[in-house]
């Protein structure tokens, strides 16, 4: 293969430019490493920009009784104790400092009357804990990090997609990819690679996720030999828009409920009384999603199969001030004035708790030189993530991944690139152009989304999961022979042909893990095994690659030290 490619060399290569990727870049740069950030979209458009509600951190600005112990306990309870306890501890302890750091870099949070950062209530959090900026916290965060990173001197490679990790023996040596704009190939040589590519929601038809969320980072890591953990735990956010059809799945922030919004069915009942009478609308997301789904399924749903979410009892000015983007979103896209009447909402595929298995302290995956942070990594959230814990996750573990990646790069001998791996990557990418017949990747994507929505959704059963798995594997076969039209110049059909492969890999991992876990826990609800099972509570499912086969192994959760056990017992 004499296809030309350009080569760039850096100490640390970061794949993904959302909150985790940018935090990693800033931290690695601070250690004196040379850093490249590669992203599929333009800088500043990553999924972090869509985060609305806030950053969970026990600053105790509003509720003085809050501290890291309570945050740790809430996170573990929300995750149904399947979390990596060490990650949950680090996260709760470090989040407040990371929020202060953001403020020192120029972020402007909403304030308390005495000038501190204001915090709001959110599902599963004992105290008012979410530092926020109206309902556009993610935008504030990404802009702050983006400007900080750019001014410190990160090299950003925008609209560039990575298709394979390159290895030097057992070590990571860099990555292969292409420029979306030109279709030309590019090789990055690096001693450390940080995966910060986010989630996998685009494998479902109803999702709050953007086109980028195709599980590529997890697939890159899996292909390179890293383990994927907790893949059965996919969070369906309780409140996505349900009408009109084009906006189905778009997120309605939990801050609506945090600010006092109530859920009702078509009979006007506040149905959360039947599912969690204590926490009501501020129960954890897994519980509220199942409640809305059940109401609709049993005939008490709204016209378009959801529930009513109402904040109109609050003063109109207050709603517009605290939830401005929700106000505009509904007014402009659904002709609904949320200050005057209810919204129609229903569950939407939102977040992946599972992902690349990493070490708590360093975010290092099971391959030397490979790190992962944010949604692409597993462990912190266990079986269910609390709202607000995602943005704090990005800050805490993005930074830790960057520090460890820089340390690693500074301490190992240089890596060598293997031309044969590059040649393989080139032919893999060019294959869809070479074929004279084959299916359209968009068609296969639609079929995958239907499959995941129908068989690997909120409620699962052995029969459905077996069926889903069979369909995913059949689609995998067909995806091996897709054909794309047009040129290599900015060609979304071509890009989807590659993304499809990632989505199929993570979908198979999700279905396989869900099939294995014969219990219900957090976001994983089996109608054939509706209860907790003590034994399953002591294990994580880990997906490994064995040649072309996906294998599933159980790993025991390590024993928690006594001081943490005490916190949980309180």
């Amino acid at each position: 293969m004499n296809e030309k490619y350009e080569t760039h060399e850096h100490d640390v290569l970061i794949i993904g430019a959302g909150g985790a990727g940018l935090c990693a870049a800033i931290a690695a740069l601070g250690q004196g490493a040379t850093v490249a950030v590669v992203c599929k979209s333009l800088l500043g458009k990553a999924h972090t920009v869509m985060a609305e509600g806030g950053i969970a951190a026990a600053m105790s600005n509003v509720d003085k009784a809050d501290d890291w112990r309570t945050h740790f306990r809430d996170t573990m309870r929300g995750g149904k104790f399947l979390n990596n306890w060490r990650m949950a501890q680090i996260h709760a302890q470090e989040a407040p400092d990371r929020v202060r750091e953001l403020e020192q870099w120029g972020a402007l949070f909403d304030r308390t009357s005495d000038g501190e950062i204001l915090q709001r209530a959110f599902g599963g959090h004992t105290f008012k804990r979410l530092c926020h900026v109206g309902d556009r916290t993610g935008l504030e965060m990404i802009r702050t990090l983006q400007d900080r990173g750019v001014h410190l001197g990160i090299d950003v490679y925008m609209e560039c997609a990575i298709t394979r990790l390159l290895k030097d023996g057992e070590r990571v040596a860099g990555a292969f990819g292409y420029w979306r704009e030109s279709g030309r190939f590019v090789v990055f040589k690096a001693k450390s690679v940080v995966i910060a590519t986010g989630g996998i929601g685009k494998a479902w038809s109803i999702t709050s996720n953007s086109w980028e969320y195709t599980g590529d980072g997890m697939t890159l890591a899996y292909d390179a030999g890293a383990g994927l953990m907790d893949m059965e735990f996919v969070q369906f956010h309780p409140t996505g828009m349900v009408w009109p059809p084009g906006v189905q799945g778009i997120l309605v922030t939990e801050a609506v409920r945090g600010e006092g919004g109530v859920l009702r069915n078509k009979n006007g009942e506040r149905f959360m009384e039947r599912y969690d009478p204590e926490k009501m609308e501020l129960s954890t997301r897994d519980v509220v999603s199942r409640a809305i789904y059940t109401e609709a399924k049993e005939g008490r749903g709204t016209e378009h199969g959801g529930a009513y979410l109402d904040i109109s009892h609050k003063p109109a000015d207050y709603v517009k001030k605290k939830l401005p983007s929700m106000y505009h979103q509904f007014r402009e896209l659904a002709d609904v004035d949320i200050t005057a009447g209810p919204m129609e909402v229903g569950p939407t595929c939102h977040y992946m708790m599972g992902g690349i298995r990493v070490e708590a302290e360093t975010a290092q995956a099971t391959i030397p030189g490979l790190f992962a942070a944010g949604e692409a990594a597993a462990g912190l959230h266990g079986a269910n993530r609390l709202g607000g814990n995602s943005l704090s996750d990005l800050l805490v573990f993005g930074r830790r991944a960057g520090l460890a990646a820089a340390d690693h790069a500074g301490s190992v001998r240089p890596v060598a690139l293997d031309e044969s791996q590059i040649a393989d990557s080139v032919s893999e990418m060019l294959a869809p152009f070479v074929r004279t017949e084959g299916e359209n990747p968009y068609q296969l994507h639609r079929e995958l989304q239907e499959t995941m929505q129908q068989f690997v959704g909120i409620f699962r059963s052995e029969e459905d999961l077996e069926r889903g798995l069979a369909e995913i594997r059949a689609l995998k076969e067909r995806a091996g022979s897709v054909r794309v039209e047009g040129s290599r110049l900015f060609n979304p059909g071509w890009h989807l042909a590659r993304d499809l492969k990632s989505m199929l890999t993570v979908s198979e991992a999700v279905a396989l893990s869900a099939l294995a876990r014969r219990e219900s826990r957090g976001a994983h609800s089996r109608i054939d095994y509706p209860n907790y099972d003590e034994t399953w509570g002591r294990h994580n499912n880990v997906i490994d690659r064995d040649g072309d086969q996906m294998t599933l192994n159980q790993r025991s959760i390590s024993d928690m030290p006594p001081d943490l056990k005490e916190i949980l017992a309180e």
Binding site: L43, K45, G246, L251, V484
Partner: protein, 246 residues
Amino acid sequence: MAEATFKIFRGDRNGGQLIDYRVPVAPGMVVLDALHYVQGYLAPDLAVRWNCKAGKCGSCSAEVNGRPRLTCKTRMDALPLGEPITVQPMKSFPVIKDLVTDVSWNYQVNRKIPPFMPRPGVEWKMDQRDVDRVQEFRKCIECFLCQNVCHVLRDHDKKEQFGGPRFFVRVAGLEMHPLDGLSRTGLLKEEIGIGLCNITKCCTEVCPEDIHITDNAIIPLKERVIDDFYDPVLWFLRRLKGKRAK
């Protein structure tokens, strides 16, 4: 089901033309839905940028029936469906392919702007009223529609001397940050040419975030530049104190 005809620009740096596509219309549909339909069923290589589909990321900017818009927020039922809907790329930036333009110039301008620099020894407390003013500027989603309509860029292509409304908004967010201690008037005057703006308010009209770009960002910044560089009394006082604007 009703159908709409779209005329979508297909082409690249070397030129192109409007191509017709027939798209079924669903209730509440937006132009971006139609573009996705075209990609999914009619032209899989149609190049379009998008991410959130909810007006939060500012990726899907284009010119719909000649008007600069976020296609994710442009409702089909607000357009005359009896006639074809044209969708073209933003005119002020070079076309890469179809609706995707080269906006990299914006990222270069951004690099020139000195970042937030807290005053030494500040206490990290702020009043919500002071924060409110700046939060308006921080709402910017970088869709670059303001850059696209600004005649200094669109008609006169002064990208060398002028930063454009987006970056005046960004500078305003820094200059009016309650704890920032740096002056950026020199940059405004010399490097990103705020003097070239003659306040036609085209930017404000197209802003999907309803930022009052002209009134709240550009005019107060122009006043700061005048204070720092053209006000004889202030100039004299600075001479006395030995201070210079940065």
